[in-house]
């Protein structure tokens, strides 16, 4: 065992305390709850053996980079600059706790303050926290936050309208976070063209909040969303969930009236990592500040008048406010947010724009190529897309994905897993790294399958 510096010195340490054995240290554990048999687990391993097992087990996984991959559904098969993991795993960052002692934590505090600034700039809102767990918990806590802030003036008490096209796995998180605290979720209807039904949106006037996503679950951009705030009015919060990369070319929601913006931070900073750790973006207008969830860094001075950073507004948080806290969040995703900050800083404004243009380009080319296959149609033909688009197939999408898999293509996500009525729909996701040969492989494997089912 190479993790215990005092191994072999137990006796001398025990003796100095007047104790005889390790058992004496556990004499306070009553017999009736004491474990007497050893843990029925495998034997210990050396670092070398662990690495070999890890390489074997993780090696049998098929990674996204090993084949043409069109699976996105809210995550990005991004490229993370080499600098990012190398710097973020510096021990001073990696092995620190939440910076409760600002005098020896200025590094992380400043990096998070810079992160807040970059997120704030990205989404067009003045305040950002230092991360939520992921896009789904960010959306869920945006809703509970909006109800706290807008609840008093709302004429539809506790009511929040949520877009019909929020993916079910995200919706499920939202439901779990809102079910016990007097919030009623109602559906904000979309029209046959996939866009938010602006007529129906009138019903949301007087509700606490409206939650929509831009792009929606099918990767569709909706011009109507920029008119929503005008329709629902000042007393109803507009919460917009975004694809963070799209904001390199798509308007920042803060500029069309959004009160809170949330989204998945993952495309900046870390690979898809089987779904975590990733991080949720959370930014808002100033009137939400004192009732928002999560940690916030503020700039201040030290005793000598020198610039310094510190966590602030902690009175919202669980360790002070306990059951009256704005959230139970304690551990968040700071290190991943740090990686995000590094990635954003390296991209710069023009780099972000270019990244978004790259994704837009592969989305468009893939969309044109796939819809050129006879028998395949876009579910919403006249809607612009970013990163993803959904098509209707002449058969079950699970079968199509299975066939494409058999020829080495990860062809997308069968939407029947989200909505039963969409079992023939395939969600195809693109990213900045999608190549023309990837697209060729997708089109040829999908065409083969279509020919097979229509023959």
């Amino acid at each position: 065992m190479d993790q215990l510096p005092n191994l072999g010195r137990e006796q001398e340490m025990l003796q100095s305390m007047g104790l005889k054995s390790m058992d004496d240290l556990f004499s306070d554990v009553p017999e009736e709850v004491r474990r007497t048999d050893p843990l029925p687990l495998r034997g210990p391993q050396s670092e070398e053996e662990i690495l070999a097992d890890a390489q074997h087990l993780l090696g049998v996984n098929i990674d996204l980079d090993s084949r043409p991959s069109f699976l996105s559904a809210g995550l990005s098969r991004n490229f993370v600059p080499t600098m990012v993991p190398m710097l973020a795993t510096r021990g001073e960052f990696l092995t620190s706790y939440t910076p409760y002692q600002p005098e020896v934590s200025q590094g992380m505090l400043q990096a998070m303050w810079e992160f807040q600034t970059m997120v704030s700039e990205l989404v067009g809102l003045p305040v950002s926290n230092v991360s939520m767990y992921d896009a789904s918990t960010a959306a869920a806590e945006a809703i509970t936050c909006a109800v706290r802030v807008k609840g008093r003036k709302a004429t539809q008490k506790g009511v929040v309208y949520v877009s019909q096209f929020v993916p079910p796995h995200r919706m499920s998180v939202i439901e779990n976070y809102t079910q016990g605290v007097g919030i009623e979720l109602r559906t904000l209807e979309h029209g046959m063209d996939g866009r938010v039904n602006l007529e129906a949106a009138n019903e949301a006037q007087g509700a606490c909040a409206v939650y929509v996503e831009q792009p929606n679950a099918f990767g569709e951009l909706d011009e109507g969303i920029s008119q929503l705030k005008e329709i629902i009015g000042e007393n109803t919060a507009l919460i917009v969930g975004v694809d963070a990369v799209s904001l390199g070319i798509v308007e920042a929601p803060g500029n069309y009236g959004a009160d809170i913006v949330v989204g998945e931070g993952q495309p900046f900073g870390i690979g898809p990592t089987a779904g975590g750790p990733i991080y949720g973006l959370f930014a808002c207008k100033k009137d939400f500040l004192r009732l928002m969830p999560g940690r916030i860094v503020g700039k201040t001075l030290d005793e000598d008048g020198k610039d310094a950073f510190t966590l602030t507004l902690s009175t919202r948080e669980q360790h002070i406010r306990r059951h009256r806290a704005t959230s139970n969040i304690c551990s968040n995703e700071t290190l991943i947010a740090l990686m995000g900050a590094m990635h954003m800083a390296l991209l710069g404004p023009e780099g972000l724009q270019k990244l978004a243009l790259r994704v837009a380009a592969t989305t468009e080319v893939t969309k044109q190529a796939v819809t050129g296959i006879p028998g395949i149609e876009l579910i919403d033909p006249d809607t612009p897309n970013f990163r993803e688009f959904a098509v209707k197939l002449p058969g079950n999408a699970v079968d199509a994905v299975t066939y494409m898999d058999s020829v080495g293509v990860l062809g997308g996500f069968p939407m029947g897993e989200w909505w039963e009525s969409m079992s023939s729909c395939l969600l195809i996701g693109c990213d900045e790294r999608t190549t023309k040969s990837d697209i060729d492989a997708l089109v040829s494997s999908l065409s083969e399958w279509v020919e097979g089912v229509t023959a």
Binding site: P5, E103, S120, G351
Partner: protein, 497 residues
Amino acid sequence: MSDIFQFNGAEGSGWSQPEPIIDDSLNTVPVSLRRSNLPRWPRASEPELVRHYTLLSQRNFGIDTGFYPLGSCTMKHNPRINERIVQLPGIDRIHPLQPEHQIQGLLSIYFEMQEMLEICAGMDQVTLQPVAGAQGEFTAIRCIQEYHRSNGDYQRDKVIVPDSAHGTNPASAAMCGYEIVEIPSGDDGRLDLDALRAAVGEDTAAMMITNPSTLGIFEPEIAKAAEIVHSAGGQMYYDGANFNAILGKTDPGRMGFDAVHYNLHKTFSQPHGGGGPGSGPIGVKEHLAGFLPSPIADREVAEDGGVTGDGYRYFWRTPDSTIGKVQQWHGNAGAVVRSWAYYRRYGKELELMSEHAVLNANYLRHQIMNANSDKRDAIHCMPVDGAPAEVVKHEFTLSMQPLKETTGVTGKDVAKRLLDYGYMSPTLYFPMIVPECLMIEPTETESREVLDKFAEDFLTILSEDPELVQTAPHDTDVRRVDEVLAARSLVLRKEFD
């Protein structure tokens, strides 16, 4: 040092990337939706940024730079093999929605971790989905809530927590809509069974408690407490923040708990990363298993021996009455894999880890409280044990109240002075039931020499000129930071001219 926005080079992005595969992709965005102004991010080159972040890191204290006796947080060494493994494409480049046959290795690691955690806690089923301890609490309370509802027990609207509980406990229960009933600790800091008896009833949904308690002492009457709560029809929830103290010695199952969360970032060495990511799996007894979030890793015998070669085919299973999801995917898989690597280091010897954690805590407590007479004579005032006990578990509390009364030096002053000596401060003013509390958890990964030196320096501080201590820190990067000013005049981002 100046901030990152000082970098504003003329050449645009500091990072090269390939050109878009078509030129006019901006046309895919409707004109009315196009971004008007780009975010004012820095324009920097790689060398500038590498230096910027390296300099920032040098202004940050981590376990790697010094002793980190932060109670309740288990700041143990983070083995570097963990970081190497999570860079492998078989985890970094995996999508959670990939078909099961493409991620058999990941599923097998999930299964192994679920099983190991079940064994260590005496629970029947574990889910790895919650991504932080607080989210684990929330998830478990949600399961308990659905369990009661499935029994028609809608009147159970209260959750009991001791006044020494972590703040997340009441906050998590409140997020599920529960009313919180706080019960006072006894004079010895232990759970007061009479107070518990008075608090339970037909409206009790659950009790949330950690054992060892936040005072670092084992609750000897925990099984009786469980009996009291159960006989009222409530469920027992174990806050696993202090799990590092008891592995292989006892487990929440034996103590009578129905549900438990684990902090992989405490007990199983997932790095804390300046505040996260964490991972907060939960384990439950059979009667709650059907309510767990979806999905859970499971396996069946594979005719062909399976892809991993262990004879099984792994798959995701949805529990029958699942509450759905608490995180969008399968939790913090990267943290699970790191913790798996850590577990493999110990295997069945995990008990050794807890023994050494407890040994170190008791040793350090002894070195501080039983200082030799020379040292003692010089000290203004000795601290008082937060809870009188023969032995503590993995942490202990000291009250600096006497020092404050005689010299005016507060617990916070001592904590800040420790920074000058190159230590991280212990947890300050928690639990709130101990006045001027310092909560100290050395963990098993500190050597005897470090503990001896810390005890000596700690006692030296208690003998220092009170003014020197009250004005500490003196030798840190910045002096005492004005938190009141920070909250009063909020500067939460860079303002550009």
